[in-house]
């Protein structure tokens, strides 16, 4: 039998929830170049770009990451009808963009930059291409269950964001995690120590749990991250690690 290199496991330091300058609350300095530079300085091996209800900057960060040697996955932080934030992370940009198109179909309103912040579309050279006019901070018309199903149909990972947080965390909004919601895992914010997450938040129960920075400012990139043991920095491998399958796992 030929050696299967895909089963050589190593540790990946992953921060799977980083905003760019496209999020209204994301700092102007969160350009594709700066995000990649800062992530490399923090010795991260894998990041995901998850702006609010959009992934229009993900391609630029992916291209800059490729140039500098950092793996980047495209994602969105979607706001459901219940006003719960949920991450959708994809293996390739086409699926992320398909998700974005669907999300846009359920998103109404126009941004008011003076009130909510500027929404900058940027290329990999950190040049401003324009502003996104949509009300990206708003809630979509889609329920949580529909968002999870759509994410999975596009081969994405569905993670309930910052479940420990009062603002838009699933526990605060819905009282408890709906048992029939087929999420791949939950994310706790930097305020929770990952190794103690199940003690801090018993309500997580047996759901796979990771942590990420939810950075809106450069200085916050990597402030929380998860070390995953897996064969490659892909969505499929993260899924295996979350489920603890084929020796992949969440290390810390």
């Amino acid at each position: 039998m030929p050696a299967d290199n895909s089963d050589v496991l190593r540790e990946f330091k992953a921060d799977l929830h980083i905003h760019s300058c496209l999020s209204p609350c994301g700092d102007w300095e969160m350009s594709p170049r700066n995000i990649i530079r800062e992530s490399l300085e923090r010795r991260l091996d894998l990041i995901a770009i998850c702006d609010h209800n959009t992934c229009e900057n993900a391609g630029a960060v992916i291209r800059e990451g490729r140039r500098r040697g950092l793996s980047v996955l495209p994602g969105l932080e979607i706001c459901s009808r219940e006003e719960v934030h949920i991450l959708a992370i994809f293996g390739d940009l086409d699926n992320a963009l398909a998700m974005q198109e669907w999300v846009y179909s359920g998103l109404t309103g126009q941004n008011q930059p003076e009130v909510f912040g500027y929404q900058i579309v940027s290329n990999e050279d950190s040049e401003v291409l324009g502003e996104n006019p949509r009300l990206l901070i708003g809630a979509t018309a889609f329920g949580l269950g529909d968002i999870v199903r759509r994410t999975h149909a596009l081969n994405g990972l569905s993670l309930s964001a910052h479940v420990d947080r009062p603002a838009n965390g699933i526990i605060n909004q819905l009282g408890f995690i709906p048992p029939d919601l087929l999420i791949d895992g939950v994310e706790v914010s930097y305020r929770v120590v990952l190794s103690k997450a199940r003690e801090t938040l018993p309500i997580i129960a047996t759901l796979p749990c990771l942590t990420s920075s939810d950075a809106h400012f450069l200085k916050d990139i990597g402030r929380a991250h998860t070390v995953l043991s897996m064969a490659a920095p892909t969505v499929e491998e993260i899924g295996l690690a979350l489920r603890g399958q084929r020796a992949r796992r969440i290390v810390r």
Partner: protein, 116 residues
Amino acid sequence: MKVREFVEGFNLKPIAGTQGLDREVKGGYCGDLLSDVMAKAPIGCIWLTVQGHLNIVAVAVLREMAAIVITGGREPDEETVQKADQEGLPVLTSPHSAFELAGRLYALGVGAAPTP
């Protein structure tokens, strides 16, 4: 007062759980954060909310509520309707805001019942 009387008096639309329309209303509560409602809604109350997720049924059962009113012209999720029917929990809808309905309920004497 019974749930049925509010349905008629406020022109609420019964969506599910009509077998429970003769339940007695013992208070009222407004809230869209289910964690808050779980902790604070008075037992036996009528609850005004914009949330239509399935979890509202569990919260209502937990607080032994008389009924849920989904306000502002919103509709409950399909699974919510099914579960509320199973539980015999009235789910009613109204185009009016929670503010407006709560004001009218209060004027009729539905006050805040003490939480046991």
